[in-house]
């Protein structure tokens, strides 16, 4: 089974040379730490920066340079700043190659819910609805089950949706799965996790096609 860092490491392998990548808050943010250093990748943050670098050294924080999580950041050579409308032109206009975000629920047809629990938690969708409505390459990073142990990979989402039929790939602490017309196709197992354990933790249709390899990190 993977921890959050493990999920980030596995997703980092999906990042290819020349990609512009938008990282969501939480596990997705960690992905930047594990991208191979022999490829060129630029990270976009929807509050208006392309070419995001690591956190600043202590004493060098700048209130005017933050990411979408409101964290202080730095920029790398070649970076640019822009306004919010232009930022979402990059996203809506499909200029961003890969979007990685977290989710509360994903359904077997690729619907995603991650912005609201009615009556309990209403933080808002931020840029997530724009991202999932336009991105062609969306990877969801999340735990396979919620804190109560219930599956987050469902036949149908129970929470208010963020987007419909948009998720292509999911990386959890247990598995790598692809969303297909027939359901969640199991691509890889996390180290030490059996197909049975994944089946048990998946409420939606799970497609197991032959021998499922263990993922390498």
């Amino acid at each position: 089974m993977l921890d959050k860092t493990g999920i980030a490491k596995r997703i980092a392998k999906e990042v290819q040379d020349g990609y512009y990548v938008n990282l969501g808050i939480g596990i997705p943010t960690l992905v930047a730490n594990y991208v191979r250093d022999d490829i060129e990748v630029e990270f976009q943050s929807e509050n208006g920066v392309l070419g995001m670098g690591p956190f600043p050294f202590e004493g060098e924080e700048d209130a005017d340079i933050i990411n979408a999580g409101k964290q202080t950041i730095t920029t790398l050579p070649g970076a640019s700043f822009f306004d919010s409308a232009m930022s979402f032109s990059m996203i809506r206009g499909k200029h961003v190659d890969l979007t990685i975000l977290g989710a509360m629920e994903v359904s077997e047809n690729g619907d995603i819910a991650n912005w609201k629990i009615p009556g309990k938690m209403v933080k808002g969708m931020g840029g997530a609805m724009d991202l999932v409505a336009s991105a062609e390459n969306i990877i969801v990073a999340m735990m396979h089950t919620n804190r109560a142990g219930e599956s987050k990979l469902l036949k149908n989402c129970s929470l208010p949706l963020t987007g419909v039929g948009c998720v292509k790939k999911i990386v959890t602490n247990l598995a790598v799965l692809e969303v297909t017309a027939k359901g969640f196709k199991l691509l890889e197992r996390a180290p030490g996790v059996s197909v049975e354990e994944i089946q048990k933790a998946t409420e939606g249709t799970l497609i197991v096609d032959g021998e499922v390899p263990e993922m390498s990190l």
């Binding site: 920066v49 050294f57 306004d83 808002g124 609805m129 724009d130």
Partner: protein, 233 residues
């Protein structure tokens, strides 16, 4: 040169009244119109509709207006940082319209650019699209979203001049340029008001035509919401 300079925040805010609709630039606490907000708190006008990506934190930014119950309605994309906001929303004291961040930006830009509405794919198939006109273009569904109508836009820039020209810094730019000229009156506050002619016309982010009033803010706290650092090795 048409002079947009006013001498004080009080003069800049002349005409604000109860029940008006205001736009506020900023992302989190970055690039917010600190001086205009402080003056609105002093004036204690009520029943406001506020268009802003976020709602500040409990004791800073728009949180100050919420604390005094000056706000009737918030139109935002993300409000997760403010406990008082959440309390007022869940108790029904505050009307909240949550919309996608890109839609918020584009509804401002549409107002600025003279478009009555725009079609966006964001929110299609979700509760955000309920009751709204939808339309198919090239096999994909889109939602019709209307331009905002606002009385004042309060924006903050790094540098500006009396002609109303603005230059922003870093990610403090965010929604500020999109709100300039998107309301009946745009009030720009700047960290540094420089003499006319000192700004290179090639470097201007927002031309003065979009700004009605400009002043230099008395002070800026520029509070950091999430101070994240790395260790020197």
């Amino acid at each position: 040169m048409i002079n947009k300079k006013v001498d004080s925040v009080q003069e800049a805010l002349q005409g604000v009244q109860d029940n008006m609709t205001f736009m506020f630039g900023g992302f989190g606490l970055s690039g917010i119109a600190e001086n205009s907000i402080a003056e609105l708190v002093k004036k204690n006008i009520k029943g406001l509709t506020c268009i802003s990506n976020n709602a500040g934190v409990d004791d800073f930014g728009l949180g100050l207006l919420l604390h005094q119950k000056q706000v009737k309605k918030m139109i935002s994309s993300y409000v997760g940082e403010n406990a008082e906001f959440e309390r007022q929303m869940l108790s029904g004291e505050l009307d909240v319209e949550l919309i996608p961040q890109g839609t918020l930006a584009e509804r401002c830009r549409a107002a600025q650019a003279g478009f009555p509405a725009i079609y966006t794919p964001a929110g299609y198939g979700t509760e955000v699209a309920e009751g709204k006109e939808t339309r198919e273009f090239d096999g994909k569904m889109y939602v019709l979203e209307h331009a905002f109508k606002a009385d004042f836009a309060f924006v903050k820039a790094w540098k500006g001049d009396a002609a109303g020209n603005l230059i922003f810094k870093g990610t403090a730019r965010n929604f500020n340029p999109n709100m300039c000229g998107a309301a009946k009156i745009t009030v720009a506050e700047v960290e540094e008001l420089v003499p006319v002619g000192a700004l290179d016309p090639n470097q201007i982010h927002i031309p003065g035509i979009f700004v009605q009033r400009i002043f230099q803010g008395a002070k800026y706290e520029k509070r950091i919401e999430q101070r994240t650092v790395r260790q020197r090795s």
